[in-house]
């Protein structure tokens, strides 16, 4: 490492000085065009695919005993994952691609970053072709080839990680952005505070995206914070905060787009809150008996997919037969994906200790000579 640094010249100044040198800036000042028709249809497809895939996992495979471990779904919250993830820059190379730390209810983010449904199914079923090669279940997965930072079980811990990713972008002088997803419960965590404050002080390019689904396991949001909105917390860090309807895809698309533009330009992080509802228990084993039935009924009527669909139907962008065709294709694809995943082997017992510690290869151990493959 030291040898490689010789004669590289003086370090250049960090382009984003610390502290509130200029006003935090308002998201509404950004110029954010609405999505075009093709993008709308693509987002509708992503939402539907996410829901269908999660339905298979939660309602079928889990009940058939084929899932290893827990199942956490984002049913009713798909608009947030999709409306945000569509802004992630991808496929343009190491210096251009954004990075994302999804929460455990952001299946759509994995799909949109290019993880195929069958590999997600293999992951849930503990197969060796899952993202963690059968070593962990559900959403505890990541893949840096898809610029996905693995979800960290300890809620809130991914916030400083996302801030650290953004710091590398600043240090390297690129205009990449770090996307960070979490729930409202995580905002009470110390790690959340430390990560957000650091990002604010260093004016790091992070978009903090909170899905406020009103329950952190069984804790209602009113027992989580005394402020009305998660976005109210932004004022304590000197960054913009905004709340929008999380079941309105266009609202999510718009707010995240503005925050991304701001971050890319070097104006620092934003805290976005999208109000939604957890239309399920904390996980598949939880009957959510502590949630009043009326809340499920009320939020069921605000379903984000139904909402987008009827808007697109009204605008004549799709018709019923086209929607039916889209659904049929998704189901057929998932039939194939499930069949593929079920054919996959479980990991061999002798692999148990693989990947626990670093073992040679072109990784961290011999970085001075080789290049890390971690970002490939």
């Amino acid at each position: 490492m030291a040898a490689g640094r010789k004669g590289r010249g003086r370090p250049r100044a960090v382009p984003r000085p610390e502290g509130p040198a200029r006003p935090a800036g308002r998201l509404e000042d950004e110029d954010m065009p609405a999505p075009d028709d093709a993008l709308l249809l693509k987002m509708l497809h992503s939402m539907k695919l996410t829901r269908a895939l999660e339905y298979r996992i939660e309602r079928k495979l889990y009940r058939q005993g084929k899932i290893v471990g827990g199942v956490y779904v984002g049913r009713g919250q798909e608009a947030i994952s999709v409306g945000a993830a569509v802004h992630i820059r991808r496929g343009e190379g190491e210096d251009r691609d954004d990075i994302v730390s999804p929460s455990h209810r952001d299946m759509a983010v994995f799909l949109m970053q290019g993880v195929p449904p069958e590999r997600i199914l293999a992951q849930y079923m503990g197969r060796s072709t899952g993202l963690t090669r059968g070593r962990d279940g559900n959403m505890h997965m990541g893949d840096l080839r898809h610029r996905l930072v693995a979800f960290i079980s300890h809620l809130g811990d991914s916030i400083p990680v996302a801030a650290g990713c953004a710091l590398t972008f600043v240090m390297r002088g690129t205009d990449q952005v770090s996307f960070c997803f979490f729930g409202e419960g995580a905002t009470s965590r110390g790690d959340w505070h430390e990560g957000l404050n650091f990002a604010a002080v260093r004016r790091l390019p992070v978009v903090f995206i909170c899905n406020n689904n009103q329950y952190a396991y069984s804790t209602h949001v009113t027992r989580q914070m005394r402020v009305e909105h998660v976005s109210d917390r932004a004022a304590g860090y000197g960054i913009p905060g905004e709340t929008a309807d999380g079941n309105d895809l266009l609202a999510v698309y718009d707010r995240v787009g503005r925050a991304v533009r701001r971050a890319r330009r070097g104006d620092g992080p934003s805290l976005l809150e999208f109000v939604t509802f957890r239309m399920t228990g904390h996980s598949a084993h939880d009957d959510a008996g502590y949630v009043p039935k009326s809340e499920f009924e009320e939020w069921g009527r605000k379903d984000p997919i139904e909402r987008l669909q009827s808007a697109l139907l009204r605008r004549g962008l799709v018709d019923r037969p086209a929607l039916a065709g889209m659904e049929a294709r998704i189901e057929a694809d998932l039939d194939e994906a499930v069949a593929w995943a079920e054919r996959q082997p479980y990991p061999e017992p002798e692999e148990c200790l693989d990947g626990v510690y670093h073992e040679g290869g072109p990784g961290a151990g011999d970085r001075p000579q080789g290049e890390s493959t971690a970002w490939r």
Partner: protein, 357 residues
Amino acid sequence: MSAVLKKGRKRPAAPARVPDLAARLAPPPAVPMKNPGLSRARLLELHAFMRLNRMLEEKLSALYRQGKIVGGLYSSLGQESISVGTAYALLPDDLLAPMIRNIGSLLVRGVPPLTLFLQFLARHDAPTGGKDGTLHFDDLERSIIGPISVLGTLIPVMTGASLAARMRGETRVALTYIGDGGTSTGDFHEGLNLAAVLNLPLILIVENNGYAYSTPTPSQYAVESLAAKGPAYGVASESVDGTDVLAVYDATRRAAERGRRGEGPTLLECRAFRRRGHAEHDDMRYVPKDLIAAWEKRDPLDRFEAFLVEEGHATRASLRAVAEGFEPVLEDAAQKALASPFPPPEETLRDVYYEAT
């Protein structure tokens, strides 16, 4: 990282210096002091505690230079108004948890100077029996909960203490301190958030003294004032001039009343400046000299004395007499402490684990 270097791109830069640091840490314009309705006797008592605080620390500093203090010594020079003003606004059984720069709070609570000398000199008769220095001790009879070295951690502890008080139906409030640096810790966030959600009578005094060790506040937070943190938790907050002991007292008193009325926690930022190093060993060469000079002119004791003289509560001579009165008392206490024994070696393992008595 090596991938970056290989391609000949520039390597990571050192963090930028804050360009207008001196301007941003300069004292804000002084507002004339105002008596919030304290009697002459109370004003003079407040002054006496501040003077005693300063003289005691001067003596400790001299002992440190003689190599007699065991461990660190953290000065509150220029911040005595915060320790004294806040503690003075509480009732005697309100819970108080000082941090390392709050000797003044202990003096107000009635901890004798001799106890403090014994503690800093690590003598056997000290509250920690000579096993720890500085202010790391409890005095539950005086409702004092000892500081925790890990900054921020005391906040959830005091949140818990105030919860206990409420569950027992007491009207006690709990007050503790944190510095500007401590506001960036996770414990600060968790403790304050819980106090807010449970509507507990916690008073959190944020002593904003410009530096967390060598980190200046523009590198610590991106808000104009730490009072901005209050609304983020749904907590009442205020920022006062920490060099104005009367403003500090009055704001704390209001916060305590709010807590007793069941209106929840208060975050009170007191702006001052750390005119010494982080601790006595630190030459603080990282602090611009003119900044220290500017804050010396805002000395809280000088300000308060000028106020007392101007308002006719005291004369220069009577104020000098206060200091002269303390001198032999402190000298005597220091000598007594110096003459008292260190803990015997065989006590080393005592109090490490709980022993049933």
